[in-house]
């Protein structure tokens, strides 16, 4: 087990948690500002009885809705961090086994699945999308030509 790997993973976990929380809060702040704008338009409409601004309010509400979905997707950092923690736990279990072997104790058996290669040292979404799309396309093309 490499000590640097464990520390690197833990460092990445704390960073991802911070980035994820910041992204979520920024999204919520944009949503709050959007709702405030809509309330302002509705108040004006109530006073002036001019319904012309309702279209703007509808557009702004749609933007708030879009923003809520984007904000929700920022919460994926939780799942990615769980995978990274499992990896650290697996490394620590290895170390535990090594120490147990020295004193003749049985091996520990982690009850979780560890990802081999975890995307997301940062939370940039769809980072590998083009590469993956290309692989899928190539595979499907090969299959249709009976190559695989």
């Amino acid at each position: 087990m490499e000590n640097g790997k464990v520390i690197g993973q833990l460092d990445s976990i704390t960073r991802l948690a911070e980035e994820g929380a910041t992204e979520t809060l920024a999204g919520l702040e944009r949503c709050i500002a959007g709702v405030d704008d809509v309330l302002c338009i509705l108040n004006k409409t109530k006073t002036s009885r001019d319904l012309g601004e309702l279209g703007t309010a509808e557009t702004k509400l749609q933007q708030v809705l879009d923003c809520l979905y984007t904000t929700m997707s920022a919460l994926q950092f939780q799942d990615i961090n769980t995978q990274k923690l499992y990896k650290v736990m697996a490394m620590l279990a290895e170390l535990n086994d090594y120490l147990n072997e020295l004193v003749g104790s049985p091996k520990s058996r982690p009850d979780f699945v560890v990802a081999k290669d975890i995307e997301g040292d940062d939370l940039a979404k769809d980072k590998n999308k083009l590469q993956v799309d290309e692989l899928v396309k190539q595979f499907q093309c090969d299959q249709s030509h009976g190559l695989k």
Partner: protein
């Protein structure tokens, strides 16, 4: 149209399910691992499966293999949504029979695009997230 969402992370399941609701899909079944997913699938069926890879008991890959070897289920479209991002893993999933692949973290637009890529063109999605 019934969609099955399989992921051991409740947060991710909720993110995906909310995106699906916005796309206009109302009938959604969910499972937290491949074992429960396969049991549910054999009982209620699904028109599309979105599955994670790294899950306890039965992994997403094993689940895909089980679905592909089941007479009544083998043609069900499957999209893998996972943190596994290496070329070897993508190819392993494709060889196991997934129709498309998404690496986490993903955007709602990517989910829409991948679903559209394998659904019959006759199906119209509503409430699409804006590009």
């Amino acid at each position: 149209m019934k969609i099955m969402v399989v992921d051991d992370s409740m947060t991710t399941r909720r993110i995906i399910i909310n995106c699906l609701h916005r796309l206009g899909f109302k009938e959604i079944v969910e499972a937290e691992n491949g074992k429960k997913a396969f049991e549910t699938l054999t009982q209620v069926g699904a028109d599309l499966i979105l599955t994670d890879w790294n899950m306890p008991e039965v992994s997403g890959l094993e689940f895909v293999q089980k679905v592909r070897s089941h007479d009544n289920l083998k043609k069900t479209p499957i999209i893998m949504i996972t943190t596994n991002s290496s070329k070897e893993e993508v190819l392993e999933a494709l060889r196991a029979g997934v129709n498309n692949y998404i690496v986490k973290p993903f955007t709602p637009e990517t989910l829409k695009e991948k679903i559209l890529s394998i659904l019959p063109s006759s199906i119209q999605l509503t409430g699409l997230p804006r590009q």
